[in-house]
């Protein structure tokens, strides 16, 4: 590869592969939201769809992990999620408490199960 292109290649990738395919959804949202009122039914439905997609992203990241998280057995990941969620429910519905408990469970489980 030409050295000038090699230098700018990651930046070109950032715009073409990162920025544009990601930003298009925000722009589409902006266009569709133009005529909508905050109490409209489409806004309500979009909120339900966004929540369901987010739940899907959560399930995907926990069950079908990639990178370093993949080295932790799936049952440890699921158990850590359940512990975190229980911690959140039991400790005054504190999101921070839930996150800390879930994370500690994962680290502990990770150390106990990986050689």
């Amino acid at each position: 590869m030409n050295p000038v292109i090699a230098e700018f290649w990651p930046y070109l990738m950032l715009v073409i592969v990162g920025y544009l395919p990601n930003e298009v959804w925000r722009v589409l949202g902006l266009v569709l939201a133009r005529g909508l009122n905050e109490d409209s039914e489409i806004v309500m439905w979009s909120r339900a769809v966004a929540t369901a997609i987010l739940a899907g992203v959560i399930a995907k990241l926990i069950l079908f992990s990639s990178g370093a998280l993949d080295t932790i057995p799936i049952w440890v990941r699921v158990a850590a999620t359940l512990c975190g969620f229980l911690g959140f429910l039991l400790i005054k519905r504190s999101a921070l408490a839930g996150v800390v408990i879930g994370l500690s469970t994962l680290v502990l489980g990770g150390y106990l199960t990986t050689p």
Binding site: V17, W25, T51, G56, L61, L69, T81, L106
Partner: protein
Amino acid sequence: MPVSATYDSSSAAFLGGVRRAVRSVFFPVMMGTYIGIGALAHDFGLTPWWLALSTIVVWAAPAQVILITAIGLGSSMIEAAIAVSLSAIRLFPMAVSLLPLLRGPGTRVRHLLLPAHFTSVSMWMESLRYLPGIAQERRIAFCNGLSVTFMSTAVTFGFIGFYLAAGLPTVFAAALLFLTPLSFLISTASNARMMMDRLALVLGLVLLPLLVYLDVGLDLMWTGIIGGTLAYAIHRLREATR
């Protein structure tokens, strides 16, 4: 009930957003997540400046992870762009459900450009929670304060992660990656006061593995459309019969 706050000026509302962000669970989560992404960028041979720029212009952790991995592994541009775009579909219904809350009678489209770009899970959740208690004309400033704080935290901790990368044990790297789904789950549950939100959450969690198992393509999009529509329909039926 949503907490209500009164701000005398736009700058007071902006500062209110900053304070809200600092107290949000996403503040420490953002630090951890971007330490992880910084380490990833280091391992795949990118520069810390590239990472900072990508945090500002992409502003979506899952898309950044896909992008960094694709550049590092030399994947095809088309495939990587499709993967990024699929991961970003959530931003569309998020923007549609958020931006109408920011728009008042005097709001022009250009005022919404920045909040539209800032749309992300952290900002969306904190906004849906606090905007109803804030006067219409202060909401954009509040949202911008919230987002600028989250974004600067992410950029700063991306740098920190980049330079810490070498010393990070695998279990800790795994824990940083685990922060995103764990915090998303707990804050969605914490924000879900309406039955519809709870239903959408549970349906999404169940539908995704089912659709992956059935090997349906575009599993995230279908999870959103089927789960979201069902949750919305049940909510409407309950309202109608009440």
